[in-house]
Structures are given as structure tokens and as C-alpha cells.
């Protein structure tokens, strides 16, 4: 959107960073249009809080407040609305952040597909914490906090269009504690992202392009639940491109990689954390996968959206 162009928006990262009276604030917003509204493991309410908290967390920010806006279709069942709001309240409490302000609008039947939720978040970035693609160097390691693809596949199967049954649950969760544990490593932490729409592959492709490096993933180290792998196989989907809503991917210096892994595994949400790859100098701008059989392939940027309305 060129008309809105300005230096704060330019980096196009998950959160904007604002300098205010000597402090750095992170500011972010997201709209949630997930279908169905309720799915195994959570609801639009959970996503709306966790998604925004996570965008702040991976910017290195301590979340301090959220706003929540609702566009509700006339006739939407009040009990469903109560459930969604309850989920939001519970997620906000778990993340230790209040919903400080909000708004509700009702539109005519047929004009909003149930309910849409928009949340914005404000956080404070501690002095001295510098994160960004420009900090990433060849030799750095790539860490993942847990299993890939749980959310996207859970939502896809919950739609009921495919005759597949499973016990997959969304991984929606706030990763602020995981991010905080990594931030404590100091300058060894280079960059973080929550791999939502487009999955890990998209987040790392953006990093490779913005940092001018190569990211090489080791296929054998990628944590994927067997049920997710099975569902992906049947549907011809690659777990690398499937949305995650309770995970973070981080790049750390080689000498802090083991400490970073221990820090993630020390948290319940990071039990399946793994070192999944490394950064190299070239070919710049690409993500490669070293296959379990000893070959390699490119993990390209996704063309189009294979799984719409996942979040």
C-alpha cells in the first residue's frame, strides 16, 4: 500500500518499533478471520490474543496492553460470543497482559461470516536488545521451539470438508516466556519470528532475502508429529508451509546455540525444541533443505495461499 509508506512501516516486520522518550515501544496489529471459529485446541479468541502477543514477543518486547475490536454478524449466537471472549480473557491472563480497550460493531446478517476480531498490541523492548535480519551471520544456528504444522492441519481438518479424522489440536499459545528466555542470552540472539501463515519456510525465506544469507535446514532434525506428517502426506501438503500459532523460530550465534536450546527446553512449551539448521553465506537469499538421504533441495517461497483462513 504505497500511500501509507513511511519509515516505521518500511521494515514490514511483525511489529513496528517506535522510539518514545528514550524507550522503544513495539506496536502491532492483526485481524482474525479463521474458519471455523472453534477448532480442537482453541478458538478465534485464543488466536486473537496469542497471535498479537507473539508478534510483540518475537520483536523482543514485553507485552503491556492489547486492544480488541469485534465485527459481529447480527444473529450470531450470544453463547458463542461468550465462549470467544472467555477464551480471550484466559489467553490474556496466561500471557500476563490486559485487554485495555476495545470496540464492538454489529453488521447485518450475511455481512460478516459470524465474527471477525482485530487485536492490536503494545510492548516495551528492553534497552540493548537488538534484533533483526541484519544481525544474522554465516555460522549462526536456527532453532525451533517445537513441532511444525499442528495449527494449520488442525484447522483444515476441523473444517470437515475432507473425510479425515484425527486428534490434531491447534498449538495456539503465547510464546512470550520462550522469547524472554532467549532474550536473556544477550547479543547471541540475532532474530526471532513466529512462523504463522506460510509456515517456517516463509519466515525463513523472508529472513534469507532480508539478510542476504542462505538458511540450510536439516530434514532429520525437523520436529513433526506423526499425525501431522500423515495428514500432510495424504493431502500433498508440506509441513514446512503450514501455519503454527504457538511456536517461535530463532537465529542465535553458534556459541550460544546449546544454551538457547536448553533455555527453550526448560519451558513446557519448548519441550520439543530443536536446532534445525544453520546460516551460510551463499547462495544468498535462498533456503535449502539437506534431505535425510543426503541430497538437497530448495525450499522456495510459496506461490499463492494453499490454506486460506487458517488464522
Amino acid at each position: 500500500m504505497p500511500a501509507l509508506s513511511n519509515p516505521l512501516l518500511e521494515p514490514l516486520s511483525d511489529s513496528a518499533l517506535l522510539e518514545v522518550d528514550g524507550s522503544r515501544l513495539a506496536f502491532t496489529t492483526d485481524s482474525y478471520v479463521v474458519k471455523p471459529l472453534f477448532f480442537p485446541g482453541g478458538s478465534i479468541g485464543d488466536l486473537a490474543v496469542n497471535g498479537t502477543v507473539n508478534d510483540l514477543a518475537v520483536a523482543g518486547a514485553r507485552p503491556i496492553a492489547l486492544s480488541a475490536g469485534f465485527v459481529i454478524e447480527e444473529g450470531f449466537p450470544i453463547d458463542d460470543l461468550r465462549r470467544i471472549v472467555f477464551d480471550m480473557a484466559r489467553a490474556a491472563e496466561a500471557a500476563g497482559v490486559p485487554v485495555a480497550t476495545g470496540d464492538t460493531k454489529v453488521v447485518e446478517r450475511g455481512k460478516a461470516d459470524g465474527v471477525y476480531v482485530t487485536t492490536a498490541g503494545l510492548g516495551v523492548v528492553p534497552a540493548g536488545l537488538e534484533l533483526g535480519p541484519e544481525r544474522v551471520r554465516p555460522g549462526d544456528r536456527v532453532l525451533l521451539s517445537g513441532t511444525l504444522g499442528d495449527h494449520g492441519m488442525a484447522v483444515l481438518l476441523a473444517r470437515g470438508d475432507l473425510k479425515l479424522e484425527s486428534e490434531l489440536r491447534s498449538d495456539t499459545a503465547s510464546v512470550h516466556e520462550l522469547a524472554g528466555a532467549l532474550a536473556a542470552l544477550g547479543s547471541g540472539l540475532r532474530w526471532m519470528r513466529d512462523p504463522t501463515r506460510g509456515g517456517l519456510a516463509t519466515a525463513l525465506n523472508e529472513l534469507a532475502r532480508e539478510s542476504g544469507t542462505t538458511v540450510v535446514l536439516e530434514e532429520e532434525t525437523l520436529p513433526v508429529r506423526p499425525e501431522v506428517a500423515g495428514a500432510c502426506e495424504i493431502l500433498g501438503i508440506d509441513p514446512l508451509y503450514v501455519a503454527n500459532e504457538g511456536k517461535l523460530v530463532a537465529v542465535v550465534s553458534a556459541d550460544t546455540a546449546d544454551a538457547a536450546l536448553a533455555a527453550l527446553r526448560g519451558n513446557l512449551l519448548g519441550a520439543d525444541a530443536a536446532i534445525v539448521g544453520e546460516v551460510r553465506a551463499d547462495p544468498a537469499g535462498l533456503v535449502l533443505l539437506a534431505t535425510a538421504l543426503g541430497g538437497s533441495r530448495i525450499v522456495d517461497m510459496l506461490v499463492g495461499d494453499p490454506l486460506p483462513r487458517i488464522c
Binding site: G230, P283, L288, A290, L293, G295, R297, I298, V303
Partner: protein, 370 residues
């Protein structure tokens, strides 16, 4: 057994690779063609070309039924989608394939009712649920998917469901293989034959390749260890001077195929005299149409389709890529004017095409060279 992970085990792969290494001879290249998009993908996804000895070269043939649909037929599908009260149902792969008038996805964005289904039985269910609409199923694929279409037609006939019809673009695997072998200068020395088409047709239809063309054939499953195993089987045939059709996919494929599926096909479809294949031109008896008795469920009988022939773009060298005469990187427009986002030819239009797979997974980069 999980049927996936066992056939991806690195230790099993290493065993087979050792056998392959013992079977190749220095200075003797062996060019093996696979013709199924699924095989192309497995080779690229697991980087198999890099782990086999340099003498073994995988060529990628015309086994992508999406790629070979001519642009004029895609335009016909778009025309159908734009007819009043029509719901056009299609497999996901066809949504982005461009005809001269754009793609089905673009038609959908303009307001046509185009819906993705995973099976023609989904289209039948839709017809039951929406009796006021005419549901058209865009049927594509080799003999692999044709039986599902056949069964759907039989159900529709037996239940008297009149608001369903099929736009039949099923093709058969034998004729393009013959066309490749008849092409002067063809480099193919052996075939890794498609596994899933064989679950329907069996392995007999490939006998002519061994008998008349002296080319070994191994019907192969789709995991990386399977393809390496098939490679070893081919090398053993060549070393022994044998020329046979062997079945590597014994866990699913039988010599005679699936008789019930073949019966359903015979009851509902017949061979067209000729059919146009994008990139390969007109090939005789290479495609199926719905039998006249079932004309009520045949979109080509119910509608007056534009049925225009559209020429491929001039710079397109898909015909040569499809028979393995050149590699995707040898085509001047590969990756420049012709990309997956803006495909010019058959090999780039679907992710199963040789050029699309090469572009996605192996633009000239590999960890062994980086």
C-alpha cells in the same frame, strides 16, 4: 507398518546406493526416464539425483496429466463455469493452469462458481444437495483417476441424478510412452514406470516397451527407497542383457491390475480417435470420452463448447522437455519469461511438470556445490 517412513530410511537407502554404485561402469551413462509427476517430485524432494552416481541420469517425461491439457480445453472449462446455474468442480491442481483466457482461479475471482473437490464423488454429493444447479466435474488424469469418474457416472445413472455431468479429459499412459520411444534421437534407455496407474491397468500394458523397443521397464512405488530400488533393478537388467517389465511396487500393483476398475471404465468410457496433448501434439487413441449411452452425463454432449484450438507460445520447448531431449535449464525462457507464476508451457503449469519441479526444488543450486 506405516508405509511411508520405512521407505525413507537413510540406512536402507545407503544399502541400495551401494548396490547401484557396484552396478554402474565408469564412462557409461544410463538415462532412466520416469513419467509420473509423483516420481519427479520424490526425486527432487529428496535430492536423489545428487546421491546416485554421476552415470545415472533421471529424465522427466510427460506423466503430468495437468500439464498436457491443451489451453483450449482449459478455456472450455472456464466457459462451462461461466454458464448460468453451473457449478464447476475440479481437482486443486487445475485451478491455476492458464488457458488463453486465464485460469479457473481467475474466473472464480470474477464470480464464476468454481469449487475444489478431492473426488468426483464429492461432485455427485454436491449435485444431490443442490438440485437447482448443474454440477460439472472437470475430469482429468490418467487411468489412475478415471475409475473414480467411471464409478461416479454409474452412480449418477443408477440414482437418476440428472444435474451432474462430466467434462472428460482422461488420458491413457501407453501412447505417450510410445510417442517418446518413436521420437528420433530419444535418449531413454529404461523406464521407471508409473506406480499408481499400474494399480488400475496392471503391468501388462507396458510389455510392448520391452518387447518391441528393447527397453527395460520397472513399475515403481513413490518413496525414495523405492526409486533407488528400481534403479538397481534396471541396472541389473542392463548388466544381464535382460529386457523385461518388472514390478517393484508389489505391495500394491498386480500384473492384471484392478479388474473391477477396468470393468467400470469399459462400461462408461471409450477411446477417442485422437486427442491433443499440450507440448506433444495430436496422439491417436490416447484419451477417453464418455460412451454415447451416457451422453446425458457428458458435458461435451449437453453443452456446445467453444472447443477452440490454441497454439502454444512460440518460445516454448515443452515438447522437447517432455521427451527428455532437453533439460528445463536448456530452455531459454526457463525461469525468465516462464515461471510457475507465469507459465508459458505445459511443463511449468503444474507443480508436477518437469520445469515446475526443477524451478521449485533445484534451480542450479545444491549443497554439494555451494
Amino acid at each position: 507398518m506405516r508405509f511411508v517412513s520405512e521407505y525413507r530410511r537413510p540406512d536402507l537407502a545407503r544399502n541400495v546406493l551401494r548396490e547401484i554404485e557396484a552396478l554402474v561402469e565408469p564412462g557409461c551413462p544410463v538415462r532412466i526416464m520416469e513419467v509420473c509427476g509423483g516420481h519427479t517430485h520424490t526425486i527432487y524432494r529428496h535430492g536423489l539425483q545428487q546421491v546416485v552416481p554421476p552415470q545415472v541420469e533421471f529424465l522427466h517425461g510427460p506423466g503430468c496429466p495437468v500439464c498436457v491439457i491443451p489451453m483450449g480445453r482449459v478455456d472450455d472449462a472456464i466457459w462451462l463455469a461461466e454458464q448460468p446455474d453451473v457449478v464447476l468442480t475440479t481437482f486443486g491442481d487445475m485451478l491455476r493452469v492458464p488457458g488463453k483466457r486465464g485460469s479457473l482461479l481467475e474466473a472464480k475471482a470474477r464470480g464464476a462458481d468454481v469449487r475444489m473437490v478431492y473426488s468426483p464423488l464429492d461432485a455427485l454429493e454436491l449435485a444431490r444437495r443442490e438440485p437447482d444447479r448443474t454440477v460439472v466435474f472437470f475430469a482429468i488424469g490418467f487411468e489412475t483417476t478415471a475409475p473414480a469418474t467411471a464409478v461416479t457416472l454409474l452412480h449418477a445413472r443408477d440414482e437418476g441424478i440428472e444435474n451432474l455431468c462430466v467434462f472428460c479429459n482422461h488420458v491413457t499412459i501407453g501412447p505417450p510412452l510410445r510417442a517418446i520411444l518413436d521420437t528420433p534421437g530419444t535418449l531413454v534407455e529404461a523406464f521407471v514406470a508409473p506406480g499408481h496407474v499400474s494399480t488400475v491397468i496392471g503391468t501388462r500394458p507396458f510389455d510392448f516397451i520391452a518387447r518391441r523397443y528393447g527397453t527395460p521397464v520397472v513399475v515403481t512405488a513413490f518413496e525414495p527407497v523405492d526409486i533407488l530400488h528400481a534403479t538397481a533393478m534396471i541396472l541389473r537388467q542392463l548388466r544381464d542383457g535382460r529386457c523385461e517389465v518388472e514390478n517393484q511396487y508389489t505391495r500394491v500393483v498386480r500384473r492384471d491390475g484392478n479388474l473391477r476398475a477396468l470393468d467400470a471404465l469399459a462400461e462408461t468410457m471409450e477411446l477417442r480417435e485422437t486427442f491433443e496433448w499440450r507440448g506433444l501434439g495430436w496422439i491417436g487413441e490416447s484419451a477417453l470420452r464418455i460412451r454415447p449411452e451416457l451422453a446425458a452425463w457428458d458435458a461435451e454432449a449437453r453443452f456446445d463448447l467453444p472447443a477452440r484450438h490454441e497454439d502454444d507460445f512460440k518460445a516454448c520447448r515443452c515438447g522437447e522437455v517432455l521427451v527428455g531431449a532437453i533439460k528445463p535449464v536448456d530452455c531459454k525462457v526457463f525461469g525468465t519469461a516462464c515461471t510457475p507464476e507465469r507459465p508459458l508451457g505445459a511443463c511449468m503449469v503444474s507443480s508436477e511438470g518437469a520445469c515446475a519441479a526443477a524451478y521449485q526444488y533445484a534451480r542450479p543450486v545444491s549443497l554439494t556445490t555451494a
